[in-house]
Symmetry: C2
Subunit: 380 residues, 2 copies
Amino acid sequence: MKKIAILGSTGSIGTQTLEVVEQNKDIQVTALAAGGNVQLLEQQIRRFRPSLACMGDEEKAKDLRNRTADLNVRITAGMEGLLEVAREPQSEILVTAIVGMIGIRPTIAAIEAGKDIALANKETLVTGGHIIMPLAEERNVRILPVDSEHSAIFQCLNGENKREVHKILLTASGGPFRGWNREQLSKVQVEDALKHPNWAMGRKITIDSSTMVNKGLEVMEARWLFGVAMDQVQVVIQPQSVIHSMVEFEDGAVMAQLGVPDMKLPIQYALYYPERKYLPGERLDFTKLKSISFETPDREVFYGLELAYRAGRQGGSLPTVYNAANEYGVAKFLQKKIPYLAIVEMIESAMEHHKTVEQPGVEQILEAERETYEFLESRW
Amino acid sequence: MKKIAILGSTGSIGTQTLEVVEQNKDIQVTALAAGGNVQLLEQQIRRFRPSLACMGDEEKAKDLRNRTADLNVRITAGMEGLLEVAREPQSEILVTAIVGMIGIRPTIAAIEAGKDIALANKETLVTGGHIIMPLAEERNVRILPVDSEHSAIFQCLNGENKREVHKILLTASGGPFRGWNREQLSKVQVEDALKHPNWAMGRKITIDSSTMVNKGLEVMEARWLFGVAMDQVQVVIQPQSVIHSMVEFEDGAVMAQLGVPDMKLPIQYALYYPERKYLPGERLDFTKLKSISFETPDREVFYGLELAYRAGRQGGSLPTVYNAANEYGVAKFLQKKIPYLAIVEMIESAMEHHKTVEQPGVEQILEAERETYEFLESRW
């Protein structure tokens, strides 16, 4: 019996993780944490019977306690609760499907408690890769990527020697605005940006995918996960989303992972690694797949990607600023308070304004985030 | 210092193997064998200084002895010589780049002597897979495929569990007559068939590639190399020859190996496995590669492929008949004695005429080959 805990169980990755658990009979869910969806977390508790659960705040925790009074589950709240879920003594793997910087502390706590991490929280490595990766190595803990691109790269590296990696080819669908120019982008409305051609995802990540900021964050994550330099990660647009990413080795061989767009594959792969298990669902059919094409991203039009390389190369606290400014910008755009292109303009101005701190600790990372929000609030 | 012996050192794979040796400074060539090219073998001996060499017959061996009288090399001839090269005491790997059934005995001898096999001789597994694979397992010897497709599959299986393989997707360029109908094929001349769109290879294999008999032989090889059923191997036409083959696992993930068409990669990979080393040469450039396409082979027009599945499913001595009839047919076609489509007609009639022997020994395999030649000579 494999034992897992999930941070962010009511979100897109969280619910799909529980679908994977449901399809397999040998995973026990020991703890669940959700931000605000009391009703869904109650259902999940009834279905998966964890002994511990956590809500975003005490008020919601109280509500959940009342709803689950008939069950043998302890309900906690807030950061203390998240840390408890992360360290839940029985669990072997923590799935970090929570969104935002709030994921960093619990991830560190879980690593310190010796749990493997099924990583779906982007911010963890983007902002704290320099803390997380050495700590995981020290504690002999696996960081198992859940993102489809990073899982693909991880699969390509299976059985390979990381020192023989020449570069990582991170694929991108290019999003709904692939091939557009800045003039066209300037007119994008919220509704346009929420349409992703291949993947069904949350709102924030769908916007990030349309700006290619998502890809920028993934390049930064890849850099930490696979121990390469930023410029060893090349973004390749592959509009059909059939190739989920590739690795080129020293000898020129390129290994790729292909599949239908289904997050359950990388989720299951992370939970059972190195074992592969039968996964119900659609398969790639090469008798029907006519062709797959490749394009080079336009880093002038999709300037957020260019800025990610700058932030990643500089490192320190700058990737935190990149991420925080994007988070702020996307929120404002979704509230229809700023135009589409202002998201990336915000990132650039916040990066320019910031004085990079080298090797920031968690406090300094959170401070850089706060400063970025304050700067953008005062400025925009 | 890695020590290797090569059977067929003056052929296409043999000379490319020596190019790989030349590019690396840590491989010692202990023995070389060639069929008839005395001059080139002399050059190779002068360059690589093996202590043992073998020519196809005694007359040529004598010639070579005279030419290399100033060198410290012992020259042998014929099957006895091949067996000596195969068993050369110092060598760790035998590269079987020799063409034809003549490769079987030396391969068995090398396995029995505990040498790893860098396998480029198709006939070995097609006709004797049921002997070779259990023997290699018993002697704890590696069979390292040199063919680009099988090397790709081997690379896709790196770090994976073979029991989790769902199917193998063996790619094919489709050859120069892809998309043609039988009417068009009936007019093919030797010169047409010798033009391969992507790979520079020997004459026999270029014809085999045009009829897709080569792919049929590869499916049979794959079945033995990777321990799957014939019908778990699906041929996928990928005309640009960028994807060298793929494996689909139980969970739906497809791993693929991509690269430029260069045999030096699979050769070097086999020699250094599991290590990858820098290999000079062109790289896949995804900024220039526009697209890769997929087609399903037409097994009615390219009927040789259909016959391969039949021969492989039936097994026993039938794959030997398939291979021998093809060898005979291609030779006659290259001599312009039969039309193009008669190659595959010969295979079919020889297969129909043959009474399959289950689990044939080496003698019975060679006997089935002789019988096939005799049948075709008497009949055509």
